[in-house]
Each structure stands twice: as structure tokens, then as C-alpha cells.
Symmetry: C2
Subunit: 459 residues, 2 copies
């Protein structure tokens, strides 16, 4: 992967540096000729006249100012880049951001390739597709994943990925809802909530005010004690969970649905890792009776078919789900999708359809099986080193406990000493402190090499 991927806003210094290195850019403006001082060339940045002259009178959105540091994964990429500059010869292995590494099965890419070519023909050309996705793909997602569950074609909204849809759901809900998240959890839930103005300010000890953090720890088996959770409008819940790798059992999900029903809450259930489930835990929230009245489900082809770059996902908004005034949530979401989105790429949708063919499903299961073997290797390595290790059975993530240590310190030590990129648990919320997430997405040789280095470090 290129050095420049995933750079956050705070990484502008890096961008400049790279731009100079690869010679793509012209001379940076606003930098005067290096002045020789005491034998050292010193770049003197003069404040550009233009920038000093004019500020607009548009106030910065105060919600943006509440956000903490950079979004987690760009921040990790930034530190990885810094490490690469420091150790240009190191063989860096990334088990960090959860990026897929195995090629997409050919049955899927050939469908995309074919669709691309067809766009050059009069017969095969199509322009705008339905914002909600192509009819056949919606129907096939419904029948493949929700065949027996009463979820139908029109309940499925095809998207360019779960992250985009999480954000569109937040726009749908607006600023006046309250929100609960598993702690730790995928940072996009909280950050999009902050951006929409649903939260107060951040403090180090409690996180964002007005967000209900549902602690998920080894002590409670990574399922929150709902008797201690305050009522919120929205409950984000990811299972199998990113980052802890834990999956909720059927009984736990029944509790969750009952809790939501009692409180009149809406669950946004993230099932992006459902196909990694090894046991018979539910793969969809809609396996739970009554869930259609209280839940939305967000999912994705990213981690099943290696579509992290191709971009394709879906969201299920059952027609049974209603706001307090009886208005259909799906109708409003449909309006959001039609106004703020123009459909997923038709080529990606052709790929999605191929994923759900018998050959495609077989090929996806093979890739998933491969990553699950990686998971096992990582789990065994850390267990053999005496760590308490969680997750990994139902998810491509291994959650390693470093009690009493700072996650970022552990992250830094591992990177410094083994050149392996992991993810600090605290990046997923206060409850992730003391953990590190190791992703199973990687070539086998890299996973084996990383595990060897872990053994060298911790034996």
C-alpha cells in the first residue's frame, strides 16, 4: 500500500514532504528561499499575503471543534508513515487498520470487468441507477441474507459502504437524539454523532457528554450490563464486534431487543463481520423476534469479498420501524438516500451480484476461511505468550489485554521493536484502554512473520 493513504487533516506536513519527494508538485508556494544561517539551511516560511488578508465571516461548525484528534485510522497511518521515514529499510507489517489483503475472487472481478466493458455499448450502457440500488441486487441481498426473516427487497438500501450509511443514518436522526455505543466500538459511530451535534464536549475520563458508553469488558463477556445503561434514542451495536471480536449470543440479543423495545429505542446493528461467525450466534439482528420494529442493520461486502476499495454495502430499514408519531423510518431514510446520495457505482453493484451467486458465495467463504486461519495463528501466538486474548473466534480481530498499560504505549512499543502496526484499543473508546487490536487481514507469510516477531518481543 502506498505511503500516502489515510492521511488525516493533521498530516499536512507529511503531504508536503511527500509531494516534494516524488516530484509531482511544483515548488511549494509561500516559502522563501532557504536562508543560510550558521552553516544550516533553514526554511523560513513567510505567512502568505493572501491568507492573512481575508477570513470569511462564516462561523466554524462548533460540533467539528468538539472532535478529538484525528480520526483513528488516519492517525495510525500517519504514525506508520513516520515510522517508515525513521526506518526506511524495515519490513513493516500492517495488522492495523483492518484492511483486506487477499485478491478478489475472479468470479467477482470478471463480472465487474464485464459490466465496465458493457458500458461502452449501446445495449449495455446505463446511466443513473436507482439511488436505493439495483432491483435485482436488493432482491438478492434480501433472499441471501434474510431469506427466512421477512426482510424484503424494498427494505434493502444498497450503499457505497457501511461508513457512509452510518453517517447518512445520523443525518436522518438529526441533532436532537441521544445515543448509546458499545465501549469500545468502531469510532465512526461516535464521531458522526459528534458532527451532527448530538453530544456535548469531550472529557478524558468520561468521553463525550450525552453519549451513553456501554462498557464491554472481559468481566461482562463483552456484553453490556443493560440494567446499568440509561435510555437513549439510538443504540449502536456491532456484533461480531469491532474491535473486541466478540459476538453476542442469541439470548443476549433477545435482551437487547427487549431493552430497546421497552425504552422505545432504535438499534443500529452493524453486522459487517457476520459471515465470520463460527458458532450459531445470530448473524442478523432480524433473527430475533420483534427486531423489525426496533432495529436497522448496516452491512458491507468489504470484509467478505475484499471490497474495501471497491465500495459496496447495504442497510436494512424494515418497513415495520416507526418514529414516535408513527411515521415510517424507511420513508425518511429513502428521502435521505435520494437527496444525499446517487446510488453505489453500477460496476460495484455488478460485483455485489456476483458475490451472491453460488460460485461467488463459495469464493467469499474461502477468503473468509483464510482470514480465520490467520486469526487462529495470532490467537495461539499471544496465548502461548501468556496473554489474555479475546475475540478471534467469530471475527477477524484479536483483542489482546495489556492490563495497566496505555494502549498507545503498547502500540508504539510493538511498532518500534517489531515494525508491526496494530491498533491501540483506546482509539475505540475509553473502554479500550489497556488493549491492542490485532487484525487478521494480511498475507499468510506476513502474519507468520509478525507472530514470530511478537514471540521475540514477549518471550
Amino acid at each position: 500500500m502506498s505511503l500516502n493513504l489515510h492521511l488525516s487533516a493533521s498530516s499536512s506536513a507529511f503531504l508536503s514532504q511527500n509531494r516534494l519527494q516524488n516530484g509531482l508538485a511544483s515548488t511549494p508556494r509561500h516559502v522563501s528561499t532557504p536562508a543560510r544561517t550558521n552553516g544550516i539551511f533553514k526554511c523560513v516560511a513567510t505567512p502568505p499575503a493572501e491568507i492573512a488578508v481575508h477570513k470569511t465571516k462564516v462561523n466554524r461548525n462548533s460540533n467539528m471543534a468538539k472532535l478529538q484528534a484525528g480520526y483513528l485510522f488516519p492517525e495510525i497511518a500517519r504514525r506508520k508513515s513516520a515510522h517508515m521515514l525513521k526506518y526506511p529499510d524495515a519490513q513493516i507489517i500492517s495488522l492495523g487498520i483492518g484492511d483486506t489483503t487477499e485478491p478478489i475472487p475472479e468470479v467477482i472481478t470478471s463480472a465487474m470487468s464485464k459490466r465496465s466493458y458493457a458500458l461502452s455499448t449501446n445495449e449495455g450502457y446505463t446511466g443513473y441507477g436507482a439511488e436505493q440500488g439495483e432491483k435485482l441486487l436488493r432482491a438478492t441481498i434480501a433472499s441471501t441474507y434474510y431469506g427466512e426473516l421477512g426482510i424484503e427487497e424494498e427494505d434493502i438500501f444498497v450503499s457505497d459502504g457501511a461508513k457512509s450509511d452510518i453517517s447518512r443514518l445520523q443525518v436522518l436522526f438529526g441533532s436532537n437524539v441521544t445515543m448509546a455505543v458499545q465501549d469500545p466500538s468502531y469510532p465512526a459511530y461516535v464521531d458522526s454523532s459528534v458532527i451532527m451535534g448530538q453530544t456535548g464536549l469531550y472529557t478524558d475520563d468520561v468521553g463525550f457528554s450525552k453519549i451513553e458508553y456501554m462498557k464491554c469488558t472481559p468481566e461482562n463477556g463483552f456484553f453490556p450490563d443493560l440494567s446499568k445503561v440509561a435510555r437513549t434514542d439510538i443504540i449502536f451495536f456491532c456484533s461480531p464486534n469491532n474491535p473486541t471480536g466478540s459476538a453476542a449470543t442469541r439470548d443476549q440479543l433477545i435482551q437487547l431487543v427487549q431493552f430497546a423495545k421497552k425504552n422505545g429505542s432504535i438499534i443500529v446493528y452493524d453486522s459487517a463481520y457476520a459471515m465470520y461467525m463460527s458458532n450459531d450466534n445470530p448473524k442478523s439482528i432480524f433473527e430475533i423476534p420483534g427486531a423489525k420494529e426496533v432495529a436497522i442493520e448496516v452491512s458491507s461486502f468489504s470484509k467478505y469479498a475484499g471490497f474495501t476499495g471497491v465500495r459496496l454495502g447495504w442497510t436494512v430499514v424494515p418497513k415495520e420501524l416507526q418514529f414516535s408519531d408513527g411515521f415510517s423510518v424507511a420513508k425518511d431514510f429513502n428521502r435521505i438516500v435520494c437527496t444525499c446520495f446517487n446510488g453505489a457505482s453500477n460496476i460495484a453493484q455488478a460485483g455485489g451480484l456476483a458475490c451472491l451467486s453460488p460460485e461467488g458465495l463459495g469464493a467469499m467463504h474461502e477468503v473468509i476461511g483464510f482470514y480465520k486461519e490467520n486469526t487462529e495463528i495470532i490467537v495461539k501466538t499471544f496465548e502461548s505468550l501468556g496473554f489474555n486474548v479475546y475475540g478471534g473466534k467469530n471475527a477477524p480481530y484479536v483483542w489482546v489485554h495489556f492490563p495497566g498499560q496505555s494502549s498507545w504505549d503498547v502500540f508504539s512499543e510493538i511498532l518500534e521493536k517489531t515494525h508491526v502496526v496494530t491498533t491501540p484499543g483506546s482509539g475505540f473508546g475509553p473502554g479500550g484502554e489497556g488493549f491492542v487490536r490485532v487484525s487478521a487481514f494480511g498475507h499468510r507469510a506476513n502474519v507468520l512473520e509478525a507472530c514470530k516477531r511478537f514471540k521475540d518481543l514477549y518471550t
Copy 2:
């Protein structure tokens, strides 16, 4: 194009009908067995028990309730579908939603096809790309469209299309900004503003309160009288304009930039039709001195390369642009892009890069030239029929005046009598009343046939 594209939330009846027709769905639930009454089968819909039982306690986002009717284009598609059911044998011609019809040049699709296949190889596979777009594509957009204008690679944010980015810009600005739009204008500006809570309620005579509608009429040459426009934080401005087809001159854009500068406003300049410009009007707002301190530009490959279904666009946020506190707008937009989006499809980006190769640019110009010939045919037809016709020279849209008539009435009459789908001007805002937009996107034979029918109707 399939009958089911672009159906709005209000079209659920249609969806059901189609689902029954094509046999994809199972029997609709909640409908009891037809009861024989007086020799007529009557469907008795019983209220589904489940729906009656549970409403969540989540309040509907009050901004969603402010939106008017359906989003324009799904509404048109709905009426088109209804017409097709009424006249199943009619040869319907769509010059309505502005959907491209000509195949994508092969130099572009073959690049996408190649990239698709490469994703099946170890060497060619890539996972997550940068949220802001691939480095080379960003650099190439900057050099191709803004070579001399001081816009650089890091100012370019590659997107899945202008509509998505308009919505992300609204999320960036938040709820507490005020907004001006050309009247008439592309409905996504206003609707996304309403959704974000920037407006008050809608009334028929003034539109949404708190939105500043800048009247663009034949009398003012479709450029607003800025001396009568109230100060707002944000000014949406599209040139060449959709729907009027008019393009602002250099002098007019200088006025606009000065107006924004004086007021401390930010212009969101939509240049999605810039390559249709016939004369030497500016193709980018950044051709105007000082614009980098006051403007964002949104653009798209949709209407250049037939990418309406492939989905690829970009937004330029110059590093010079600042909020009132001096904070960089680009930094906040970068954060939005990283949190609410995961990059455009890598396959679409490969296509974008091919668009900007010498062969690709040549091929795009050819397609654009073809549509411009269509435009001429349509303009001449309506002129020969004695109509006042605007636009068409610098844009693929012809804006036909029907003074004193309701746009929807004219739309309906044309559809009923000629089976040609147009777009009612009032769908673009109160200022569009009395106009109909005729799109030049269509196969030549269809455009000629539509013009023949217009002649039959209006001679």
C-alpha cells in the same frame, strides 16, 4: 432504462405492483384473502398486527417533515411509470432527468475493466484507498482543470459524485448557517439545507424561510441582482446553470466573488457542466482573482464521460479558505470526508484517470460535442415554434418559456400528448414556474423524434 429507477418514498404502491408482476417477491403480507363481494374481488388490507403494536419513542427529525413532496427526479420517474402503465405501447422518450445516454468511450471503460481484473491479482489488489482519493487522480484533476489557477493536489477531494459532496458540505457547515441559492436551481442544494435544519418552514409564495432565493429570470439575464440579495453565510451558485442553461460571464463572476468577499460568505460553485461552455466564460470560479479565499468548487465526471451510474466527482476546497476564526475549511472538510466517507470506488477512479488522458479527454469532448448538437436541434425546434428559449449554448439544457402556465401542467400536457418526459421548471424552485427544462441527453433518433412530436403538438 428500467421502469423502476428513481422511485421515491411515495411510490411504494408501484414497487409492490412491480414486485408482483415480475414474480420476484413472495405473496405480500398483511393482505387477507380476497373476499367475494357482489361479484367483485376486493382486496381487504388488514392493518398488520405487528405495525399496530409498537412505535419507537424516537422523535422524527423535524427537518425531514419540512421537505416538500418527493425529491423532484423520483417524482418525475413516478409519473413516467404511471404514464407507461396507462400507455403500455407508447414509445416514451425521456428528456427529463438529465440522464446521460451515450456509451462511455472505450478508452475509459477498458481502464476500468483492467483495474477490475487486476483486483484478482496479488500485484494489482488494493484495499482501502485514501478517503480523499488516489494521489495520482487528485494531482491529474488539479493539473487538467486548474493547471494555471494555483489549485493543487491536496485541494482536490475525489468523491462519488457532486450530489454526495453537496450533502457532505452541508454536514460540514452544520445547522447554524444561512444559505442563498439561485432560483431556479438544482433541488439538492435546498433539500440538503432543509435536512440540516438551516431553514424554516415552506410556504408556497416564498419557498423555505431563511433561504435567500436569488431570482434568475430572462429579465436579468439569469444572473441575480446582487444589490437585492441579503447577506448569507453560504451561496450556492451553479454555472453553466442547471436548469436554465445560462452561464455567468467573467464580469458577473467577478461581481459574485466581490459580493462574497464583502459579506464574508462562502460560495459553493457547482461547475458540473463547465466542459459544455462554448464561449470564453470562466469554466471554474478559480479563474476569478481572490476566489480561493471565498469559494469551494464541486464538479463531476457524470455529464462529461457518462459516469452518472459509475459515480465519480470531485470537490475543490482551497487551503486559502478560512472560517471566521481563521480555521481552515479544508481541514474540517477533510475530517468530514474521513469520518463520513471511505473514498470513491477504486475502479471508478481508474476510469477517472483514463478520462484525463489525452485520448480520454478527446473522447469526452466528442461525447459532449454530440450532446451539444442535440441541444441545437432542440433549441431550433422550439424557436421555430415561436417559443422564447434560453440556455442551450453553454449547457446541455434548454429552458423553454410557457408564460402564464403552470410548469407541471405543461409537463403533463407534453407527456400526455407526445409521450416525451421533460422536467417542470417549478421543480427547481418558485422562479422556475412557467418554464420547462428539456434535456439534450438522448440518442439522436430520440431527440429528432421528440422534436417532431413537439412540432406536431405546437404547430
